[in-house]
Amino acid sequence: MEVGQLQRSFIEYMSSLFNEGFLDAQFSQLQQLQDESNPDFVVEVVSLFFEDSERLLNDLTMALDQPNVDFKQVDAHVHQLKGSSSSVGAQRVKNCCVPFRSVCEEKNTEACLRCLQQIKQEYLLVKNKLQTLFELEQQIVAAGGAIPMMQ
């Protein structure tokens, strides 16, 4: 594919992510932070986010799998997930955390499990999208083009 085409695809894809609520303004902040001294900043941070989230989701699964669920612990994990997802701009993931915390307070295991399921889905979705986005970037660079700045 030629560079111009790749770039257009990139822009379209990026816009859709914002429009569909997968990403929010915070992600733009990350992009703005990227500069020559840290050219892979966004990828770096998002990778950290992926690792951290997967760990948290695992911990959540285990915690909710206990006979006696430690809701405080569950809440702590969700809180953490909320913080990191909001920091990278993964809006939909973050939005799932809010009701999750409420049901934690109510100590409703059933509802917690449902929330967990939902969060996992959202997480996988945004992970997929971001990975696609990064691949597009790589293709553009490989084709000798510059990555368009989103505004």
Binding site: Q26, Q29, L30, L33, D35, N38, F41, E44, V45, L48, F49, E51, D52, A76, H79, Q80, K82, G83, S84, S86, S87, V88, G89
Partner: protein, 670 residues
């Protein structure tokens, strides 16, 4: 990038900034602001780091609160501001906030994804200077420098009671060149602070000089003054107590509303901590209990400090007299009852012990042998050589104490020449404080001198200073550091990071520079543990029922607060310590000894008294005391110690004041 568990990453990107800061270039400011960011979330941490770098700040990040705390302790003057997450697995963010506020008195910004009101309120009550909601935007980070300035300004303002302005101004003139020195020898941040400070304050500038005390006018919150303050507050009712009204009620000439306001703030924090926090008291109490003598010593020690303070001219002669009388009276009657309430608090503990010991020392110089263990006991950071020296000097020092008034003067002389004397002093301290490690001899001497010389104030202030410093380390050793040691440590630290305040003059100073870091640590430690022993005591007296707790816990906290902001003058601390000591007997000993021991590190060469400290309490005082005073760029840490130092500096040979002029702490009325 991945932060391993408990890793810390420091980026010294702004290293060159120090130079530019110095040039007083407003355009550079606030570039180079040294930020420590703590968050267990690696994603957020990385983002924050990048954002802060983009703001041209110097960022250090850590994903563990404990690591961050130790980093802060090692680098007393290494940071300007701390940003911390609220929810962390190893330590609650608020707890870290408290520690930082108490020990280092740096501005702390809390942040969290949690924006519920009660959490934000918690941040406010714990003293956070700001609360950011995640996701944090770079715009929010751009302005964090305002908190650093604000805090500094606040501290500056508070110090304008006792210090002679001239001394400070003189100091100030040289500051620019000193800044340069600082940058080279001290942390880079130092310059930033100094230059910032210069920029900020045109005329009162108290430049902090690690070698010389920072001359800022400081209000010396003597025991009497504090009592007046508390009376006024009680009269008005704690809720309605506003600085203006308190000022009117107190009717003290020269006291400004700002002085009262900052003191009130500390007092409130102290009260809050009393009710909420109770970490140290238990520890301290134990140590204290063990040494009734300690309390005795404490009181005397306080007296000494008072004398010292007085000597330096900081403390009004009158208050000194009062303190002395109190100390004398106390020591005379209650050797064993001193148990300083302060002791409860870590801070006090270190501080008080020495004091307590002193009076007793006189009577029981014979115990000196027992006290030698102090030296041994000190976990010191001191170089073995120093330790050895201390031992020696303390021995001689101890002997000196025994002698009586004439001795005192001699002791003072010892103090004056710290380098040599320190060991003896330390020895003395050690000796005097057997278990409690309160070095009595120094106290004894002071007592004697106090009576004879009438420099109780100085001593008191000194001890106050020491106490302050001791706060940090005291915590752990708390038990028995000889009060004297602590005392000296504090003093020294103030004077010169490592040396005892008394010695300030020359020897101390040079050594200090090198030991700045050590002292800082010590100071922080001392401060931590002891908090404000003296301050504590004061409160103690005022609030009998909770004297113990207040004293100890309060002191620590107060101290911290005070040291940070500095108004609490050592004398105050001392007095408080004394009173509390007297009252609680038990507490007294420990803090002091702790203080001393900690000081030992630094003081290796410091005052004779310091010597004792060093040996006695390995960690506590020396560090604390040193740090506080000597790191000029560390404004925040300039708590009592600096105040003390300043006072002492102006006074000249601190040692004399410190003296173990024989001011009998015991005599101080409890």
């Amino acid at each position: 990038m991945n932060l391993g568990v408990g890793s810390v990453v420091k980026n010294m990107s702004g290293a060159s900034c120090s130079v530019s800061w110095k040039s007083n270039d407003n355009n550079q400011f606030p570039a180079g602001l040294r930020v420590l960011v703590v968050d267990d979330d690696p994603t957020c941490l990385r983002i924050l780091e990048k954002m802060l770098r983009n703001c041209h700040y110097e960022v250090t990040k850590s994903n563990r609160a404990e690591i961050a705390l130790s980093l802060l302790r090692e680098n007393r003057n290494g940071f300007d501001i701390v940003i911390s997450d609220v929810h962390m697995p190893d330590m609650d963010g608020f707890k870290l906030l408290e520690h930082v506020g108490l020990e280092m008195d740096l501005p702390v910004i809390m942040m969290s994804a949690d924006d519920s009101k009660d959490v934000v309120m918690k941040g406010v009550t714990h003293g956070a200077c700001d609360y950011l909601i995640k996701p944090v935007r770079i715009e929010a980070l751009k302005n964090i420098w305002q908190h650093v300035i604000r805090k500094k300004k606040h501290e500056w303002k508070d110090k304008d009671f006792d210090q002679s302005a001239t001394a400070e101004e003189g100091d100030r003139q040289q500051k620019p060149s000193e800044d340069v020195d600082y940058s080279s020898s001290a942390n880079e941040g130092g310059n930033w602070k100094s230059s910032k400070r210069r920029k900020e304050e045109e005329d009162e500038t108290e430049e902090r000089d690690d070698s010389s005390s920072l001359k800022k006018p400081r209000v010396v919150w003597s025991v009497e003054l504090h009592q007046q303050f508390v009376q006024a507050v009680n009269q008005l009712g704690i809720d309605k107590a506003v600085p203006k009204k308190i000022l009117e009620l107190m009717n003290v000439p020269g006291l400004t509303r700002e002085n009262v306001a900052s003191h009130l703030q500390k007092y409130r924090l102290y009260l809050r901590r009393l009710s909420g926090v109770s970490q140290h008291p238990s520890g301290l109490n134990n140590s204290f209990m063990g040494h009734p003598e300690a309390t005795y010593g404490m009181s005397s020690f306080n007296g000494l400090e008072l004398q010292a303070l007085a000597a330096t001219g900081q403390l009004p002669a009158q208050s000194l007299a009062t303190l002395q009388a109190a100390a004398l009276g106390r020591s005379a009657t209650k050797g064993a009852t001193l148990s300083m309430p302060l002791v409860d608090q870590r801070n006090i503990f270190s501080f008080e012990n020495p004091k307590l010991r002193f009076p007793e020392g006189q009577q029981q110089l014979n115990n000196s042998n027992k006290q030698i263990n102090l030296l041994h006991g000190i976990p010191t950071t001191m170089e073995p050589k120093q330790l050895a020296d201390l031992h020696q000097s303390s021995q001689s020092f101890g002997a000196m104490n025994m002698q009586g008034n004439s001795r005192v003067q001699q002791n003072n002389a010892l103090l004056m020449h710290m380098p040599q004397q320190q060991p003896s002093r330390a020895q003395m301290l050690n000796e005097t404080n057997n278990g409690s490690q309160v070095s009595r001899p120094p106290l004894t001497m002071s007592q004697q001198s106090l009576s004879s010389n009438g420099i109780p104030g100085a001593l008191l202030s000194r001890s106050g200073g020491i106490v302050a410093n001791v706060r940090g380390p005291v915590h752990s050793p708390v038990s028995q550091a000889s009060p004297i040691v602590d005392f000296s440590l504090n003093q020294n630290t103030e004077l010169q990071n490592n040396s005892f305040p008394l010695v300030r003059s020359n020897s101390g100073m040079s050594t200090m520079t090198s030991k700045r870091m050590l002292q800082e640590e010590v100071n922080s430690d001392i401060k931590r543990s002891r908090g404000f022993p003296s301050g504590y005591n004061m409160f103690d007296e005022l609030h009998q029922q909770k004297s113990q707790d207040w004293g100890l816990s309060g002191v620590g906290s107060t101290f911290d607060a005070i040291t940070g902001t500095l108004d609490v003058s050592p004398s105050m601390l001392v007095q408080q310590g004394i009173s509390s000591m007297k009252r609680n007997g038990q507490n007294g000993s420990s803090p002091i000894s702790n203080a001393f021991s900690s000081s030992r590190e630094e003081s290796g060469n410091v005052n004779p008294m310091g010597g004792n400290f060093l040996t006695v309490k390995a960690e506590q005082l020396p560090d604390a005391s040193y740090q506080n005073n000597f790191f000029p760029d560390q404004f925040g840490q300039d708590d009592l110690m600096s105040a003390l130092l300043k006072q002492q500096e102006s006074v000249g040979p601190v040692e004399s004041e410190f003296g173990f002029d024989g001011y009998a702490l015991d005599n101080l009325p409890v």
